[in-house]
Amino acid sequence: MDIQRHLPPPEPTGHGDEVEVRILTPHIAQPHFPAMQVTGYGLSLAITLIAFAMVAYHWMGLNTLVTVLIVMAFIQGALQLGIFMHLREAKGTLWHLPVLALALFIGLGIVGFSMWIMLFKSGVS
């Protein structure tokens, strides 16, 4: 089986591949130690355990707790996207971002508007 493929030259193609976003500074150099992965793992473990402790030991009132827990879930999700799903390797792969924005828009739209409509004046929200 022939696995050799004709590769395009790595130079900019003029199709927007060369666009750079400052906050997404390319970070594709392969380090000798997977520091990013270890950091991400440590942070997600810490956030999970803190969230669990907040519920187990009743650190705050219910309404505050709900908000804080959901914010922590979003932080941890962003951590996964940024560290493990390679969003920082954006040079040449910037087309990730529109698809991701689409997913966020549709997902939050579905969840937010469904709950708003279906729980409207039901008194259980």
């Binding site: 089986m1 696995i3 050799q4 493929r5 590769l7 395009p8 790595p10 390319p26 594709i28 392969q30 997977p34 992965q37 270890v38 991400g40 793992y41 997600s44 473990l45 999970t48 969230a51 669990f52 519920v55 187990a56 219910l62 707790l65 709900v66 827990l69 959901i70 922590m72 879930a73 941890q76 999700g77 996964q80 996207l81 560290i83 493990f84 799903m85 390679h86 390797e89 040079k91 040449g92 792969t93 087309w95 990730h96 698809v99 991701l100 689409l102 997913a103 966020l104 549709i106 997902g107 939050l108 579905i110 969840v111 469904s114 709950m115 279906m118 729980l119 259980v124």
Partner: protein, 204 residues
Amino acid sequence: MSTVTETHRSAARPPEFEDTHESIRILGFWIFLTTDVVLFGSLFSVYAVFRNRVALGPTPHQLFAMGPVLAETLILLTSTFTCSLSLYAARSDKLKGAVAWLTATLLLGASFVFLEIREFVGDVRAGHTWHQSAFLSGFFTLVGTHGSHVTVGIAWAIMLVLQLMSRGLTVTNRRKLYTFTLYWHFLDIVWIFLFTVVYLLGIA
């Protein structure tokens, strides 16, 4: 066997994107993940709406045992870590490392599914099936859909291990490993929200 990727190691792109065809397939995989966001978004909405409709069945507070759920969460977090190490090894051109970490990932995934099935079987034995209340229907559909995704991911990982062992780190296999890690991290994000919205807020 010399592969094409080695020649462009210093290029400005991640190695999985150097081949245009494979790069397009990664875009396609992102679009698949978007449709999965729609699926899970719908199921999360249904669960949130029916959460308090427990009929004569148990409330979330009575149903959930947090010990196994915390264990499941830690196992899944560890498996995403080993999964990212598999890609790291592949990018360092270490085939054995990539296969070993991928095997660790699928074993952790299997133990996650085992714990979840044990939880479900316990609920059903106690008479708490999805027929009992709207809350239980929403719960089993949401958590079960995530569990079936993890199961599919395990089957995918097994096939990927076999392909890596028989063909090595080819251009195609690198892209397959990359899309697998995207899938696995996506499932981890879904589980983070499941753990928070279903379990933590269920017992809060």
